[in-house]
């Protein structure tokens, strides 16, 4: 099932975090848990339950997919690797753009002190 990226935003912070973590390349569950925690500076600490529920949801929505590859030597055969799809990238891009718009509005009302709008203001 593929959905138009614009319809998906806003994404939940966990979803966005996962997509951002996968933007650099394939990754597996435990690495994602750590990545999400690091990105959110400890605010999001998904357990396996919420992480894998989110992953399954993203797979169902076609934003990410399970990488098919043989386990590396010495690697646990149960481990699964996930990669971002083109739809997933679009969704992340759309979410980032949405956040940017929010920030710009906030900036214009002096609610985003540390933010300075860049040259490209619209996606």
């Amino acid at each position: 099932m593929t959905v138009e990226s614009e319809e998906m935003v806003p994404l939940s912070p966990l979803t966005m975090s996962i997509l951002l973590a996968l933007a650099d390349g394939e990754s597996h569950g435990y690495a994602l848990m750590k990545d999400v925690k690091r990105q959110s500076r400890g605010v999001l600490r998904p357990g396996t339950g919420s992480l894998y529920a989110a992953l399954q949801r993203l797979i169902d929505a076609g934003l990410i997919d399970e990488a098919e590859r043989a386990p590396a030597p010495g690697e646990d055969p149960r481990r699964k690797h996930y990669g971002i799809t083109e739809t997933g990238r679009q969704a992340a891009r759309a979410e980032a753009a949405r956040m940017l718009r929010v920030l710009e509005i906030a900036h214009s009302k002096s609610l985003a002190p540390g933010f300075s709008p860049g040259p490209r203001s619209d996606a």
Binding site: P13, L14, M33, R41, G47, D76, K80, A106, G114
Partner: protein, 893 residues
Amino acid sequence: MNARLHGCLRRFLPRRLRIRQGEAMAEAFDVALREARADGLRAVVRLWCRETYDLGRTGMMLRMARLRGKASASTPRGDRGLAAAGPALQRGARRRVWVSVGADVRAAARTLRRRPAFTVFAALTMALGLAAATSIFSAVEAVLINPLPFANGDRMVALFESSGSDRLLLSPGPESIERWRAQRDVLAGVEPVGSTTKRLTGQGAAATVQVALIRPQFHALTDRSPLLGRTFTEEEIRGAGAHVVILDHAFWRSRFDGSDEVLGSALELDGEPWTIVGVMPPRTVLPTFDTVAKQLWLPLSEERQRGATSVVGLLRTGVTVVGLTTRFDALYGQAQAEGASDARRGTALAIAEQRALFLRGSLRLLSLAVGMLMLIACLNVANLLLGSTDAQRDDMQVRVALGATGWNLVRQVLAQSLLLAAIGGLGGLVLTRLGLAALGALRPDNLRLLDTAAISAGTLIFALTVTVAAGFGAGMLPAVAVIRGQRGGGRSPRGRQVGPAGQRLRWGLIAAEVAFSFVLLVTCLLVAVDLYRLQHSDVGFEADRVAVVGVSLPPWKYDTTAARRAAWDDLEVRLRGLPGLLELTASSETPPSTGVAWGRVGIDDQPLSDEPYLLVGPAVRDDYFAILGQRIVTGRAFTAAEVRDGSDVIVLGEQAARSLLAGRDPLGARLRIGEDDEPRTVVGVAADVAMNGPAGVPELQMYRPLVDDYSPNFRTIVLRPEAGDDPHDLLAPARQVVVAEDPDILVTEVATADDRMIATLGRERFLAGLMATFAVLALVLAAVGLYGVIAGLVAQRTRELGIRMALGADARRIRRTVLRGGAIAVALGIVCGGPLVWATLRLVASTMVEELVGSPLVYVSAIVVLAVTALLATYVPTRRATRIDPIAAIRDA
């Protein structure tokens, strides 16, 4: 263990997610757990708590989403809009989440405080279930998960050698030990240890002490140093060994009140002084198959090392028992290729596994039983909460009108059940302490391993996890009912009436409780009937008619045959003077403990058999069979002359005669065991006795005449009282006679033969005692649940019942109206319990006696017990229903 627990927790999640991602989740959690372990126990506890909460919450959310029909894949729910707009804002949001959780908990606490009876009841139910589960878990942890209380216990193996074709495992010789020590890449250590008994003398009557023998290197192998003082030095194990002793922790506490001043003082063992040099840390055991608790640790001298010892090997990390066996086989092949004809093959067995073997089946059954008990407790609390949410329906509708969402109400219910579980959990821990004390008291002598059960870190993690799971579990159904109620809207204008669906749900819960109680009752009855059968089985002699006194002469005092004969004769003369004694005889041992002979057997002039046989049985006097009431089937017992001269004659057991002398007349046959044995003539065949106790495996039996040098310092004296007298009456006087003869003579045992037989049933009695406790608890909980539902029903339907009575319904009809649902629920529970019983019995088949499992009497009794319990539980509320005053009911409602 961890994997299994995590697997259980994943059950919170919908099936589809479990199937697709379960394995990967397990893997990710494994890695997380490994990292947390490196950070210490607190990190592990924190991880488990967070994981339990996360899985429970996610499962709840996903199921709720599905119930609402909003399980839309593309719109992940959650704190939408809480975008990454700066950490400060997020921290604020996080705090708000906690504030609202706090509010939920406070609201739940208020509700519970308003209903103290309900709260106490529900929390007590939880506490009972949790205490049972936690107590059994700590036993499981002590026996199955951690049977060797050492950090590297799972890498310890017992090493044996066997000569070529024989399957017999022998204690390894010094050459083998040397060869194995050289295998440094697979074995991190090879350490001989030993055990023996000594007699503690010089302080009144002598007493036996269990002794472990070790070398100084033992401490490095187990990574345990003495708590006080020092270990042995290399000098102290030279030659015959120095007279120095390390006290076991428990012995030091009980005998010396845990005083540090014992160091340097002396202890008299076998009439000689030994110097105390140290105290072992608590829970130090000898890593062998022998689970008997030791009181003293003595040096394993070089002299002793040449004799039979047990050898403990420590596997290197990553090396398995199979890996080591492969290496041993290679070594053996190499030795054979080099032409060593006396090469011995090494064998390794995991010690922890062997120690747990005896209890594994029983503990599996007990774990299953407490699991069911816990479920019954949860169902009960769920039922109570359902009743409570029904009562709170008005309140909830007001909250909905003020804008509360379904999720808010669910959280309120869940907060209540989690709070109840938490209170129950705390109470449960207190009860667990009592439970463990009870386990210790119930523990039979041959299950000393259970003494190591304690509230450990693992137990706490388990208790916490079960508490949270029970909280969610018990809250889940009422929460779903609340959502359903929301969807349906306020069904009744007064908000008092429970819809038929809600009532059906409550009856369903009762049916489930009855089903689990039925399983527990049936298994409990099977175990109990089996125990009764064993206790009353025919052991082959008149065990209830004789008393047995085990006597051990101090060898340093009676060191010549003449001295020993004089002592035995003197003792017998004195014992014959006991009032009420009819006859006495002496033997080397009596069942259920016996001497053994092992070897290949030759009959007459035929060559020795290919397979070795094990023959068990004591050396006895001519009057032994008559006094014990053991039947001679053919031939005769020994004559007095044969015993006096130590003739080469034997009496065989029936089965031995059948298997060894198949088809021929046993009398006159000549038997030899092993190459060098003198042939012995069979003079009679005696009825088989239960040599290993009533539950023991039947063995081939053989009796020899008791000669002076057979076991010079040890004998059992069998006393038979006058007909009609109780043999128990002879016990205390007999002990006094022996101690008066010489306080250094050790009375190893004074008991009736019957009590000795029953003592071998320790495991069966332990199992039956615990199963009975659990079955009674299950019955009480189910009865309480049934009572609660019927009482609630009567309270809700007071007006309806009043109208019915006003319209002329008599007490019988009212009773039928009230009891119908309950009767159906109980019947349904029993019917559904059937397959559950079947499944349970399949799981624990090894612990059950087959012919009992098929006996209909057990099932009928269980049904009768359940029915009577159900009637008792419904009696009071039903009576209340029949005594409703119709006018008052109609007016008040």
